[in-house]
């Protein structure tokens, strides 16, 4: 299987099918990234669409010696931040609401867990939350998180550390500080 970077190289050289493969690899993850702070599926989808358009327009800027994933996330995060700033309102909490069309059906227990997760994560400052979300949910390494956010790997780890400390406090505040596997919030 071709790596993301090989696909990007093929795309920069004019292979349209490489773009379709990249779309298939990234679209769902990017939609999830957008939905974390946007309640509307159509708004999130619009931002994902813009992300791919920007990837296309910026394709000649991509440094082929680097990893593609942080670069894609940088573009997506820039768009999301600008969009949220433009709307001048606090991000909504999609997981506290009833799922809309486009969200795969989930069992109620899983929804509860996700809601608890969203509640404690939303108590974090944006800088810490972004690092933790990119590392845990989008599966970027701290090095990639640093590249995506324009900070050093050390700064990404420091933000994560501070985020974990605050999460611990938030969990304690919710009475979940001694969360055990059987408590319902587990992998």
């Amino acid at each position: 299987m071709q790596s993301d970077e090989e696909l990007m190289l093929a795309y920069v050289r004019g292979d349209a099918s490489a773009f379709h493969e990249l779309f298939r690899r990234y679209a769902s993850a990017l939609l999830r990234l957008m939905r974390r702070e946007l309640s509307s599926q159509s708004e999130a989808q619009d931002l994902v669409q813009q992300t791919f358009l920007q990837i296309h327009r910026a394709r000649n800027d991509f440094d082929l010696s680097r990893r593609l994933k942080p670069w894609v996330y940088t573009i997506a995060l820039n768009l999301k931040r600008e969009y949220l700033r433009g709307r001048k309102r606090r991000p909504t909490q999609p997981l506290d609401q009833s799922p809309e069309p486009g969200v795969d059906a989930v069992d109620p227990e899983r929804e509860d867990r996700a809601r608890a997760l969203r509640r404690v994560l939303s108590s974090l400052p944006r800088q810490q939350r972004e690092v933790i979300e990119l590392h845990w949910f989008d599966e970027l390494s701290f090095q990639e998180v640093g590249q995506a956010l324009g900070i050093s790997t050390t700064a990404a780890k420091v933000r994560a550390h501070r985020g974990y400390v605050r999460l611990k406090e938030a969990l304690t505040g919710l009475g979940l500080g001694n969360l055990a596997p059987e408590s319902g919030i587990e992998p």
């Binding site: 773009f19 000649n60 670069w71 486009g102 899983r110 845990w136 780890k157 999460l167 587990e186």
Partner: protein
């Protein structure tokens, strides 16, 4: 064997409680993972899977159609590497002072054109880099340079002697002369919706071009004239850019 934060995270997600000499070695050097291991509840909480979002089957076709529409001069210019777009913006900007000198030779000597040009390159490079994660403080710093450099240089070097000769005329002249560059910026800009800091940076860049044109147009050394008639063009462009972003945001809402 766990040697990275990602591997430790993945162990948590598999429901394992990472332990062993390799984990100890890793956490000895990694404060984030140390905190995570000290508080397994956090790891378990973060291991909750997010809901999966299914994609509308028509979505890929829609994105492909958008990309297929990217044709013509503007699409070609937008897809150039950033350094080439900055170079084109510089070439366009350089034409204006040259045109000013050619059209109407006047007593201005262009003393500060070189630092204005350097600030212009910086502003364009930062604003055009849409695929880079530029920290906010860097953008603000660049904006401060772009919008503040002319005022700073003139405030320090100008005098209060002589007559304050109609700054409004220079303001209008410099503003109007540099305005065509806005068209080039629109052609070179990749994003359909600019954020306030990037729009303000381009406004500041336009102001620097206006200041450069006026350096050849007007020989006044009066501090008040230079600040009100020359430096304030950049501030007006920055304010207009921010107003435009605000207006578009309000309309989109």
């Amino acid at each position: 064997m766990i040697v990275s934060c990602a591997e430790l995270r993945d162990a948590f997600r598999r429901g394992e409680r990472p332990a062993g000499a390799d984990v100890d070695r890793h956490v000895a050097e990694c404060a984030a993972c140390r905190e995570l291991l000290a508080t397994p509840a956090v790891g378990r909480l973060l291991s909750v899977r997010e809901p999966a979002f299914s994609l509308d089957p028509a979505f890929e076709a829609q994105v492909a159609a958008d990309i297929a529409e990217e044709r013509g001069l503007r699409a070609t210019l937008r897809s150039l590497p950033t350094w080439q777009r900055v170079l084109l913006a510089c070439a366009g900007a350089a034409l204006l002072p040259v045109l000013q000198v050619w059209l109407r030779p006047s007593p201005g000597r262009g003393d500060w054109v070189a630092p204005f040009a350097a600030a212009f390159v910086l502003a364009c490079a930062v604003s055009f880099a849409s695929a880079r994660a530029t920290p906010g403080f860097q953008k603000l710093g660049t904006l401060a340079v772009a919008a503040g450099l002319p005022a700073l240089l003139w405030a320090v070097t100008a005098t209060d002697t002589g007559e304050l000769a109609s700054p409004g005329l220079c303001f209008l002249y410099g503003g109007a002369f540099s305005l065509p560059l806005l068209g080039l910026f629109v052609l070179l800009e990749r994003r359909d919706r600019l954020g306030p800091s990037d729009a303000a940076l381009l406004g500041g860049a336009l102001g620097l071009v206006a200041a450069s044109v006026l350096e050849y147009h007007c020989a006044s050394a009066h501090r008040g004239h230079l600040l009100l008639g020359h430096a304030s063009i950049g501030w007006a462009f920055v304010a207009a850019a921010l107003g435009w972003v605000q207006f578009r945001g309000a309309r989109a809402r």
